[in-house]
Amino acid sequence: MPLPRNVAETEALLSAHGYVADRALATTVFLALRMGRPLFLEGEPGTGKTEIAKVLAAALPRRLVRLQCYDGLDIAAAAYEWDHARQLMAIRLAEAAGTAEDRAHLEHDIYDRKYLLERPLLSALAGSPAVLLIDELDRADEPFEAYLLEVLADFQITVPELGTIRAETPPVVVITSNRTREVHDAIRRRCLYHWVGYPDAARERAILATRAPGLPERLSDQVVAFVQRLRQGEWFKLPGVAETIDWAQALMALDARELNPDLVDATLGVLMKYEDDLAKLRGAEAARLVAEARGG
């Protein structure tokens, strides 16, 4: 499938696959596809950063290769690893067959591509066209960032024993960060940057319509009004869109038609995940927000 030709087509493509993007995000995605640059998405947890990559993979369609980052992520886990057990076995077999004397030949044989285990980065470059999701890059450490920079610069990986492996079709790269650490400027400069914020009420209703189908319209309006008001307050952790969707689904499972204070108190744990926040919200504050949400 060809890449979208303009921003409107990108918007349509994303929404056809269940992602309601605002204009700025659609523009940035469009540019990332056209210019072949990685997309760097920063934002609060639960605002749909990872989802973009999944939707792009479904829409283009390409296979999704996901690399979840963590502290200490190294080449063996991120790019490739030699299958030492099979290499040793090959050496034993060569010895048994009496062909181990030819060292140069043996060396050539055991550093063959078939003994190379592909990890996400290599897999995204080597196989069929892919969408490469590098999730939560802020969790990885600086040495990994430096290595990633090398890979993203030319979309190639050099294996010392084997040579350079280059992508025939460069992958579409989506990098996400929750800002638990500042990602280095060098990575940022390679990418197109977008901050994924909380959606406005209209867009959040549209998201609920696609992600929680069957939700009564009246309840949807109230849920969105409640969450939007909640986000105005000072909480340790604001609820993201993912929480709104979960909450809507929870309310549907309870056959709710409308918000009321008891119902909200009973289901708050879906929306807020910290005891301090829950203690502050439960009761009077929740009742006030419900009244406002029903009135508005």
């Binding site: 940035t28 469009f30 200490g72 060292r103 638990t180 940022r188």
Partner: protein, 387 residues
Amino acid sequence: MTEGGALLAHLVGFVRLLRRAGLPVGPAETLAAAEALAQVGLAERDIVHAALRATLVHRREHFELFDHAFALWWRHPEAAALPAGPTEAGKPPPAARRVQEALAAERPGSSPQTEDAPPQAEAALAASEFERLQRMDFEAMGAAEIAEAKRQIARLVLPLDDRPTRRFRPDSRGPRVDLRRTLRTALRGGGDILALARIRRRRRPPPLVALCDISGSMARYAQILLHFLHALANRRARVSVFLFGTRLTNVTRALLKRDAEVAFEMVARILPDWSGGTRIGDSLATFNRLWARRVLAQGAIVLLITDGLDRAGAEGVAAAAARLRRSCRRLIWLNPLLRFAGFQPKSQGARALLPHVHEHRPVHNLASLKELVDSLSGRAEPQRRAA
């Protein structure tokens, strides 16, 4: 072609405007922006805005400045393209501040071993006098003594409280075998003896976050403590420094200036309330809400420097301190009042704080700073004063 040329000229004008406002925009960004505009055209303002922002700006903190500049440029592209003119003089201070932050952004390559003070200064200081200086309260020091203390602080060997990471380095006596390297050497050598290549875990110091009270009651210590924090930030990777009085301010980037005086000048410029009252609860809560998740990852140690005197009557202190303790690996309270032998946490703030800290230590003279440094490096097992 000419149309493209005019577009490029406009774009260059806009980039110049951004640079004047202090955004770090280089030629690579400009080229990317030109390519982006060629892709999306100029018909729709929203799209042009998004395209330029995605290519020219790399962090959210710069969005506000960018949006202002864009609004100006979209209306008067020619005016914005003018070189620095008379409007430059009336530039609002926040923008100037941004410029300076941007200048301070690039941290010079660290070379922690360089000694900046000549060794004869140390020799000149008689042992007894050195001893006296170590015991002397920061509060009671004169200008000359402060200057000497600063030199001492600059020479404190800063701690490397190493923690194991998940990375490995070659080590002939390491506990693990590096199969990849072993196999490669074995093939190269050609012998039957398999020399095992070994590796060991790399270690590195955890991030350090200092929250320093600079309110009225702490003002007399603030100068010397700032020197300590400056030395800390410049000698060690992953240090964040926040100052608070009634409000919390992140001064990390300003403190990362190698020259202490330049750094302090910048700190003074971005500080809203030097020597005002203290709101410990508010400040800690703000830190928890806005910064904890961004700077406390990977097992950070928090130094909370305050005397615990809170203007707001300790409101919210306990809750905020409890939350802070749970978010970091070690919470160390440095209290200049602790020098008095019979110190009892009488103030409400101190009483609220004490149950939640891992360690409670004095900071009022050089000796106590040295003890702190030892404790951070794990050399002396700290006596735990709080549960």
